[in-house]
């Protein structure tokens, strides 16, 4: 529907008429949206509106669900991701993902967790330096530098989530997708994650799905509002929260949804 006319950052991901199905259920209808580079785009909407499905289409994780299908155009830096012959596995190294519940690998140490993306993909290089860099970027280095060999279960929920972020950063993605990254965390841990997102946007393009409108307002530059599988409105976050153009957006944002 609407394209945010964000002038300066050029779009990193351009979605054009994306449709998605789970078996026979048509879950995304003609979604057209630009995600600007090096900025944070929040995706909001009520439960079941398709925002997580949309996010998972961006790194083709939707394909893992049996019976899932997507059609349309999805361009990353101009390259069509849904075209035949595009390697989904390779794509996921460019477009990383962080999930709702922190999911560090339990049988690996903290160090090994961060390095897992490198090791499992056979990427060489100075793993020591890369792990430290990623832990610093994830604002976790100071808290774990003395116990890199320890188990992730010894970390708090917020720390585990930052560990997962560090792990995702290790393979040097260009885009970071976050599916409600703070919804399982307490307010202080949430604030740390939001602060981290603010730092990360200087180097990565970030798309974050959140059911918490205030979080979207705090954290993002652009906001896209989904309802029943359709993109209702997308625009600068300030505009969406002070003066949205579409009545339905207004109703959602002010809490008038029945």
């Amino acid at each position: 529907m609407n394209d945010p006319s964000t002038n300066s950052p050029k779009p990193k991901i351009v979605v054009d008429r994306l449709n998605a199905w789970f078996k026979t259920a048509h879950v995304l209808h003609d979604v057209t949206l630009s995600i600007p580079a090096l900025s944070v785009t929040a995706i909001i909407g009520p439960s079941g509106c398709g925002k997580s499905t949309f996010l998972r289409c961006l790194n083709r994780m939707h394909e893992l669900t049996p019976g899932a299908r997507a059609e349309g155009t999805l361009r990353l830096d101009g390259q069509d991701l849904l075209a035949r012959g595009v390697d989904a596995v390779h794509l996921r190294r460019r477009v990383g993902m962080v999930f709702q519940r922190p999911n560090p690998f339990p049988t690996m140490s903290i160090f090994d967790n961060v390095a897992s993306g490198l090791r499992l993909n056979g990427i060489g290089g100075d793993h020591q330096a890369i792990v430290e860099r990623c832990l610093r970027h994830a604002a976790l280095w100071d808290e774990v530098k003395d116990r890199l060999k320890g188990a992730p279960s010894s970390l708090s929920g917020g720390q585990q989530q930052r560990l997962c972020i560090a792990r995702a950063l290790a393979v040097e993605p260009e885009v970071l997708l976050m599916d409600e990254p703070a919804s399982a965390l307490d307010p202080i841990a949430t604030a740390k994650i939001e602060d981290l997102i603010h730092e990360l946007r200087q180097r990565y393009t970030i798309a974050i799905v959140t059911h918490n409108m205030q979080q979207a307002a705090r954290v993002s530059d652009t906001t896209a509002f989904f309802y029943m599988g359709e993109l209702v409105e997308a625009g600068a976050t300030e505009q969406i929260f002070t003066n949205p153009r579409v009545q339905r957006t207004e109703d959602y944002v002010t809490g008038k949804f029945g």
Partner: protein
């Protein structure tokens, strides 16, 4: 007040009844242990573990070859059974919801219900007859067939227990699906699988019937797969049905050795699990 007393009395009576049933249930186990230990201990010696069996009447001798034979047979069984069993388990967990998966699962269920002697006969027909000889290989494969269903079912359950989120985390890093299955999923389930393997081994080590027509027995050391091999279980059988008193004694002692072997494998499995649980906390 009366109700309270009555309830207390019922409580105590029920507790006593439960305790009694536990004792009754433990009685056979206790009697087995008692019998085996008391009768078998007499024959225990270092020689018993290391020497070959002697003809009847001659003093000394041992079951060294039988112990080695059991180890050899179980080793062969693992060689064939572990990859198939664990592999099938992983397949069933990851992709087993289709027709093929259901077929495999059904087969495993049926197979686990087949009496072990029947499996022995099957192995006889499949291997002993064409090879025209009894062999350790046939025995190993018979034991493998026994281990596979158990391993497959347990592995499937353990792998299914691995949360989907770990799989997704690995895939989101751009790791191939097969690599995710092996390096992440399997690795996470490894502890449970090791325990399952130990238990499968201890079961295989205690089987007699499948070995009767496949590995037969051997009075000497054997390291060749195409020759018959001794095993503790068959040796116990042979000693026990013989009319000789000193062989009966040897049977008890060999039984004690087998019990110790199986018991320590079980214990190892338990300790391994507890150790992992402690680490996970």
């Amino acid at each position: 007040m009366m109700r309270l007393h009555l309830r207390n009395a019922v409580n105590v009576a029920a507790t006593i009844a439960c305790g009694a049933t536990v004792l009754i249930a433990m009685a056979p186990l206790a009697s087995v242990l008692w019998l085996v230990v008391s009768r078998g201990a007499a024959g225990l010696s270092l020689d018993f573990f290391t020497h070959l069996p002697t003809p009847v009447g001659e003093p000394g001798g041992g079951v060294g070859n039988a112990i080695a034979g059991t180890a050899y047979l179980v080793g062969l069984a693992c060689l064939f059974g572990l990859p198939v069993g664990i592999g099938a388990g992983v397949y069933l967990a990851e992709r087993g919801d289709g027709r093929l998966g259901h077929a495999i699962r059904f087969t495993a269920e049926v197979l686990s219900g087949v009496p072990s002697i029947v499996i022995g006969i099957v192995a006889y027909g499949l291997l002993v007859v064409p090879m025209r000889r009894f062999s350790a290989l046939a025995g190993g494969i018979a034991l493998a067939i026994l281990m596979v269903p158990m391993l497959a079912r347990t592995t499937e359950e353990l792998v299914r227990l691995v949360p989907r989120s770990l799989r997704e985390a690995s895939l989101a890093l751009g790791v191939h699906e097969w690599k995710t299955s092996l390096s992440v999923v399997l690795r996470t389930a490894l502890g449970g699988i090791v325990t399952a393997v130990l238990l499968a081994i201890s079961r295989a080590a205690g089987e007699t019937a499948p070995l009767l027509f496949t590995a037969l027995n051997n009075q000497y050391w054997n390291a060749k797969p195409d020759q018959p091999t001794a095993s503790l279980t068959v040796q116990i059988y042979n000693y026990a049905i013989s009319p000789y008193e000193d062989w009966h004694q040897k049977a008890w002692t060999a039984a004690l050795v087998l019990l110790l072997l199986v018991g320590s494998l079980n214990l190892a499995a338990r300790l391994f699990t507890r150790g992992r649980l402690r680490d996970a906390r």
